[in-house]
């Protein structure tokens, strides 16, 4: 499995993501700058990492989502390549229209940086098959705009199609997100967006490794 990590000015979790992929797969991921118009051939997983692309001017992820590389990410997604967006990456996938809904300012208006509980509400996806259905994991969050919103019709569709993949559990919803939604997947099952940072919990030195199965799943390293 070959991984490409998208780079835009203002991101700050790109190095964490590169380190996570290197640690888990033993392979150095490719990086793709914002002005590139194609994802290199042979890439099986594209990751849009977190941070504050273009300072989150206008809306979180709004400017980043309109850079050429995000059109290339959309092309790859249409061809079935797996795409993972974390935090600002999730915000960009929404702004780019690869996933439905929007992420708004946290209901508390505060930036939240802490570890929350996540329930794996669909363990049958390419990204979550390393977890048990209903498993509750630890995962760090660090964001100001993680308050997921979608209209009632979209929410009903997401729930009906089991496309809510992660939910904040045990009363740890840090941002007011509707129905405790922390991560959703597209209809084809190859594009996942989530606010929490699994890349920051992959080895004992992090205080746990609950994020690791997500990458092992996406990289086809998980025991089936």
């Amino acid at each position: 499995m070959k991984t490409a990590i998208v780079l835009l000015p203002g991101l700050n979790r790109d190095r964490d993501m590169i380190a996570a992929i290197r640690t888990i797969s033993g392979q150095e991921p490719l990086t793709v700058w914002q002005t590139e118009t194609e994802i290199p051939t042979g890439v099986d997983l594209v990751i849009v990492p977190g941070g504050f692309s273009f300072g989150d001017y206008l809306r979180c992820g709004a400017i980043g989502a309109r850079m050429p590389v995000m059109r290339a990410v959309a092309d790859s997604a249409r061809r079935g390549v797996r795409v993972l967006g974390v935090c600002n990456g999730f915000q960009m996938l929404l702004e780019a229209g690869l996933l439905p809904g929007a992420l708004m300012r946290n209901a508390s208006l505060n930036f939240v940086c802490r570890t929350v509980k996540l329930e794996v509400t669909n363990a049958d996806t390419a990204f979550t098959r390393g977890y048990r259905q209903g498993q509750v994991i630890d995962c760090p969050v660090a964001h100001h705009d993680g308050n997921y919103f979608a209209d009632a019709e979209t929410l009903a569709r997401l729930e009906g199609e089991r496309r809510v993949v992660f939910r904040y559990a045990d009363g740890t919803n840090p941002n007011g997100s509707v129905k405790d939604i922390a991560g959703i997947i597209n209809a084809d099952g190859n594009v996942l967006g989530m606010m929490p940072h699994p890349e920051n919990l992959i080895e004992d030195a992090h205080g746990g490794a609950d994020g690791r199965p997500l990458f092992e799943s996406a990289l086809d390293l998980a025991a089936a």
Binding site: R66, A102, M104, R105, N106, A107, S108, F149, G176
Partner: protein
């Protein structure tokens, strides 16, 4: 030259915690009788031509494609 003002506001029904915080701050300052605050954004856009029909079409497209997130926001265009 056409100058346009685009106003972007949250749709009805979308919670606006920033508006709520502003409302609270107004109360703290002693302003009475405020029944609600919804905040939004204003863009003043200058075009380099005088073609009103083209301007209206372009500005609507700008709103749809970038200035507003129509999942949560409404927009209004006023040519001034």
């Amino acid at each position: 030259m056409i100058t346009a003002r685009v106003t972007v506001t949250l749709k009805n029904g979308v919670l606006d915690p920033q508006g709520k915080a502003i409302e609270g701050a107004l109360a703290t300052l002693g302003f009475e009788g405020v029944d609600g605050v919804r905040q939004g954004k204003v863009f003043d856009i200058e075009l380099d031509h005088d073609d009103r029909a083209r301007a209206e079409m372009d500005l609507a497209a700008m709103c749809e494609k970038l200035l507003a997130n129509t999942v949560i926001e409404d927009y209004a265009v006023e040519i001034v």
